[in-house]
């Protein structure tokens, strides 16, 4: 028995060894180093030079761009994420019954979410072109003067959220998988008890789907706080040479962090930003998890 436990430990560690290496090299050491750098002035050429909490102090009290970047990211997450989850849930519900052409619809809705982000960003840059873009062209047809979208400081973030909605198919397919797992008997029992379709949605579908909603919410939150590629591509594009432009309206957190680290070589400063990002993400995730006790239902015997 003893020897079996020992053999299992040896085999277990051997099979897990790639990830144990990963954990040490790419997670544990970098976490420690990043925390140390965040307390240093570090330009990646000379050795880090200890400055204590100076980076954090500057960020929190002396850097308006930091707050701007945090605000931009929170804007996109707070507005874009709920909208995204609602739209994808709506589409999933529409598709959930046995429907002719299901595979066709699924393809249409899902494809944008796996389209390369760089291509997506360039495409939307063109669709949302204020003068010649399709979106404003269509708006004009119905008598609406379209906004400047990505060229306007007021409309650039709504434009990014609209772009994000196009990718809602990713969470839609996850909802769909969850919906198809709701046992049909629950609906039968509910309708025997006199529940209408609306009540069934409220008291059967939503509770049964709540773990999936939680999953999509947390994944969306983590991805949302790291929002980067789209704004980088848009920033680099035609007539928009300023990073995070226009007027810093798309300077999201990860973009500011990246530019601090790799354009200005203020790596210590960027590490401090990364830690603040981590704490903000963690705080939001913990809030959601704590509230989830009240709204997430785990079927007692289904696991």
């Amino acid at each position: 028995m003893r020897s079996e436990a020992r053999r299992n430990l040896r085999n277990g560690l051997l099979f897990a060894s790639p990830w144990l290496l990963n954990l040490g090299l790419f997670i544990a050491y970098p976490i420690a180093a990043s925390f140390y750098y965040s307390l240093c002035s570090y330009d990646a050429l000379r050795a880090p030079h200890w400055v204590g909490l100076e980076n954090y102090r500057t960020l929190l009290t002396d850097d308006p761009l930091f707050w701007r970047a945090l605000g931009n990211t929170l804007y996109i997450v707070a507005l874009g994420l709920p909208l995204n989850l609602a739209v994808s849930l709506g589409i999933a519900l529409l598709m959930n019954q046995k429907l002719k052409g299901m595979a066709f619809y699924r393809t249409i809705f899902y494809l944008p979410s796996i389209t390369p982000m760089v291509a997506t960003s360039i495409l939307w840059l063109w669709l949302l072109n204020p003068e010649m873009g399709l979106v404003n062209g269509l708006l004009e047809k119905v008598g609406v003067q379209g906004p400047g979208w990505l060229a306007s400081p007021d409309w650039s973030k709504p434009a990014l959220i609209l772009m994000g909605l196009w990718g809602a198919g990713g969470s839609m397919v996850i909802y769909l998988a969850g919906l198809q797992d709701v046992p049909a008997q629950l609906y039968e029992a509910a309708s025997l008890d006199g529940a209408g379709k609306l009540a069934q949605f409220r008291h059967v579908t939503l509770p049964m789907l709540s773990p999936v909603i939680l999953f999509n919410l947390i994944m969306g939150l983590i991805a949302g706080f790291q929002y980067f590629t789209q704004v980088w591509v848009i920033s680099g594009a035609i007539g928009n040479k300023a990073l995070g432009g226009p007027q810093d309206s798309t300077l999201v957190y990860a973009l500011y962090l990246f530019s601090a680290a790799f354009l200005d070589f203020r790596m210590g400063y960027a590490c401090a930003m990364a830690w603040i990002l981590f704490l903000v993400t963690l705080a939001c995730a913990l809030l959601i998890f704590r509230s989830s006790a009240r709204w997430v239902y785990y079927g007692g015997d289904t696991r």
Partner: protein
């Protein structure tokens, strides 16, 4: 049943019993919103400049200018970028399949002290923003002289990717343990069980993981941006992004290049649709 609740019921069934055609109508309308950008991508790619800039927009180009695609791939070293991207994709997929399946095997099929704690750590790392580790990892790769090589983009995939380990573990746990036990009685080592029992039974899950790993590598932008400075080593993502900043307002060429980069993903999806959909149920949200 009182009148009020009957009224509520007929009202709610009105809302939710959208007859099938109404449901289709809504889906077609929404589908149009999702499909239109793709249509515009391809149609712009086939237009002449006059049609690209025409107001109101031209829906169907009069003459399909396939030549735009030829121009797009000769403006940038497209085939070089394609080759660079494919090399990274293949090595990443191979690494992911080998390493993530091994690690998942350890977490799913071997009972060892400390396993559950480490698995918890693995799941926790998925919550860690990449920005936290990005700078020290960059410093390490630079110290190794790996900047401007594909190693930083490939090597980490050979050390297990948390998300894929998680997915494969979920799948491996559904394979009856009795199969391992009887193989063990037949004198199989743990490695034999992994290679000859578990892996062959997990082909669908491995296909899904391979597919997702390929798409991740194909679409990756942050990694190449950070590590590939030499233009001749760029991937398609990176090359396309540079194309945007260099070619002012040549929309038909930009759309042609973007379409070319998207095409493989679309094709893969069409041919492997079932693998994709299976994968989504595998993400393990059902616990």
């Amino acid at each position: 049943m009182d009148r009020h609740s009957r009224w509520t019921r007929s009202r709610s069934s009105f809302i939710f019993h959208l007859s099938s055609w109404l449901r289709h109508l809504v889906l077609i309308f929404l589908g149009a919103f999702f499909f239109l950008p793709f249509y515009w991508l391809v149609s712009t790619a086939l237009k002449s400049d006059a049609e690209v800039f025409a107001v109101p927009p031209v829906w169907i180009p009069k003459e399909l200018r396939w030549h735009n695609f030829v121009d797009a791939v000769s403006y940038v070293p497209f085939f070089l970028y394609l080759k660079n991207t494919l090399v990274i994709c293949m090595l990443s997929v191979a690494g992911t399949l080998v390493s993530s399946s091994m690690v998942a095997y350890s977490f799913a099929r071997i009972r060892w002290a400390g396993r559950d704690l480490l698995f918890f750590l693995l799941v926790a790392t998925m919550m860690l923003p990449g920005q936290v580790t990005m700078i020290p990892v960059f410093a390490v790769f630079r110290a190794l002289g790996w900047v401007d090589t594909i190693y930083p983009l490939v090597v980490p995939h050979w050390l297990g990717t948390a998300f894929f380990v998680f997915m494969l573990r979920q799948f491996f746990m559904t394979i009856p343990l009795e199969l391992s036990d009887s193989a063990r009685i037949d004198g199989c080592s743990e490695w034999d069980i992994y290679r000859r029992v578990v892996l062959p039974l997990s082909r669908p899950a491995l296909a899904t993981v391979g597919l997702f790993a390929f798409i991740n590598a194909w679409n990756d932008f942050g990694g190449p941006l950070l590590y590939l400075n030499d233009e001749r080593k760029a991937t398609l993502s990176l090359g396309l992004q540079q194309f945007v900043s260099q070619h002012d307002a040549e929309w038909s060429l930009l759309m042609a290049a973007s379409a070319l980069m998207t095409l493989p993903i679309v094709l893969i999806f069409f041919f492997a649709q079932r693998t994709f959909i299976q994968g989504i149920t595998l993400t393990g949200i059902k616990g």
